[in-house]
């Protein structure tokens, strides 16, 4: 899974690149999108990582409540999978064991694992390798309820503007609105997993996504921040109930190497 996620860019991203090639007004921007298509093709054909930053292994588990796992520790098994996948696949090991001591663990472990218990008897594993460059440009803000939707829009646009060329645009923005601080961040990351081009189930949020996408692309940042109208391929919003006193907003940025791989056992 680690290797497939790093070698094979999703069709939804490829389609978005192709669409961008048609709509992009800057020639340099167009050329960049064509280069990114070519890069993804090389990675796929030659089975090499599309990006040298093979990411932090972020794993979403949906564990059916009727599933009983025997024979060992599930988290340890996932960790072993990451270790083996990154080592055997010649993927870059980008994890340091302690954030201040900063010594590389040498095998890209540990992963970050988010688990959800769901009805049923399946185990769904989604791996989303996350690059550091775009993660570093992500932000969270505890807003006031009075800031309302206008405040949310301004914050999301500000995060995009501030990120500029740094997160390897064209990017995808995952926006988490509501919950507590950590919940907003988590749903922002979950929102990145949604297929590009899919429409939000909540019609109001779908409208907000379209408005934000247009406004952000009109900033003129463009592919790689060199100027143009294809900075952002999609804005995906997820919401959750909030406290009467709070309006948390998290913006998680994903670079164009929007990698994820899913299996259901």
């Amino acid at each position: 899974m680690c290797q497939e996620a790093n070698f094979l860019l999703g069709e939804d991203v490829m389609e978005a690149f192709k669409k961008g090639c048609e709509t992009e007004v800057s020639n340099t921007g167009k050329e960049i999108l064509q280069i990114l298509i070519k890069n993804a093709e090389i990675a796929r054909e030659e089975q090499v990582p599309m990006c040298q930053d093979c990411g932090y292994a972020v794993v979403f588990l949906e564990l059916g409540q009727d599933v009983h796992i025997e024979g060992g520790d599930l988290y340890e098994a996932i960790t072993e999978g990451v270790r083996k996948g990154y080592t055997d696949g010649y993927l870059r090991k980008s994890i340091v064991g302690h954030p201040l001591e900063r010594k590389n663990t040498g095998d890209n472990t540990p992963p970050v694992i988010h688990t959800k218990i769901v009805p049923g008897e399946n185990l769904k594993i989604t791996l989303a390798p996350k690059g550091g460059g775009s993660e570093n440009m992500s932000q969270i803000k505890m807003m006031k309820p009075a800031d309302g939707v206008e405040g949310v829009k301004n914050f999301v646009i500000e995060v995009a503007k501030n990120a500029g060329p740094n997160p390897c645009p064209p990017v995808i923005l995952g926006v988490g609105i509501g919950g507590t601080m950590e919940k907003a961040a988590l749903i922002a990351k979950e929102a990145l997993l949604r297929e590009i081009g899919s429409v939000n189930e909540d019609p109001e949020m779908a409208k907000l996504e379209a408005e934000l996408l247009e406004k952000i692309n009109n900033l003129g940042i463009g592919p790689q921040g060199l100027g143009g109208r294809t900075f952002c391929l999609a804005v995906h919003i997820k919401t959750y109930a909030a406290h009467i006193a709070s309006l948390p907003v998290a913006v998680n940025i994903n670079c164009h190497a929007a990698r994820h791989k899913e299996v259901v056992l």
């Binding site: 990114l36 890069n39 990006c51 040498g106 570093n136 060199l226 100027g227 670079c255």
Partner: protein, 186 residues
């Protein structure tokens, strides 16, 4: 668009004629370095041990990259640029010693832009995330210092027609600001 071919080592004249937005094809030897290697190099400079640097920066280009491991039978792993701002605290010291260009992606600090004006250097952006494609421009690769840093070790690459765009020139121009001005919808 016309592309300008640059071959290392570079002179002041080579970089002084470059302007933001121009496409450049780099040829010859370039050196790699990221956060940890930069810290070591600048610690040496500050300690007056310039002769212990992994390479003499004069006339050279440094590429901000940490390649993925090399698969058997290949020259190098995937190797696109990393975000440059993390090297901003160190870059002026290297330009001062004659470094002519750095390659990365993303914005530079006013201090780095000033250092490029003062010491005649440029900043070139390679395409972030086009790592499998960029690897094809690299004809040979070897680690010349700090092997303990793994992907962050200093490599010597020999490159052929490695494509990039001039983002900051010796006049203080900044394509990241100018590009937005052209395409922003008022």
């Amino acid at each position: 668009m016309t592309q300008i071919r640059l071959t290392t080592p570079l002179t002041d004249e080579d970089v002084e004629k470059l302007r933001i937005g121009q496409q450049v094809l780099v040829n010859g030897v370039i050196y790699t370095g990221r956060d940890a290697a930069h810290k070591r190099m600048v610690d040496l400079i500050k300690a007056g041990k310039v002769n212990e640097l992994p390479f003499d920066p004069k006339g050279q280009i440094i590429y901000y990259v940490g390649p993925s491991p090399t698969k058997p039978g290949r020259v190098v792993g995937s190797c696109g640029p990393t975000t440059s701002y993390r090297m901003d605290p160190y870059a002026p010291e290297l330009y001062k010693l004659g470094l002519k260009a750095s390659i990365g992606k993303g914005k530079r600090s006013p201090e780095v832009i000033e250092a490029m004006k003062k010491y005649k250097g440029v900043y070139l952006a390679a395409i972030g995330g086009a790592a499998a494609l960029i690897a094809k421009c690299i004809k040979s690769a070897k680690v010349i210092a700090y092997p303990d840093l793994g992907a962050e070790a200093v490599h010597e690459f020999v490159v052929e027609d490695f494509p990039m765009v001039v983002v900051n020139d010796t006049l203080g121009g900044d394509l990241y600001q100018e590009g937005i001005k052209i395409y922003a919808v008022k």
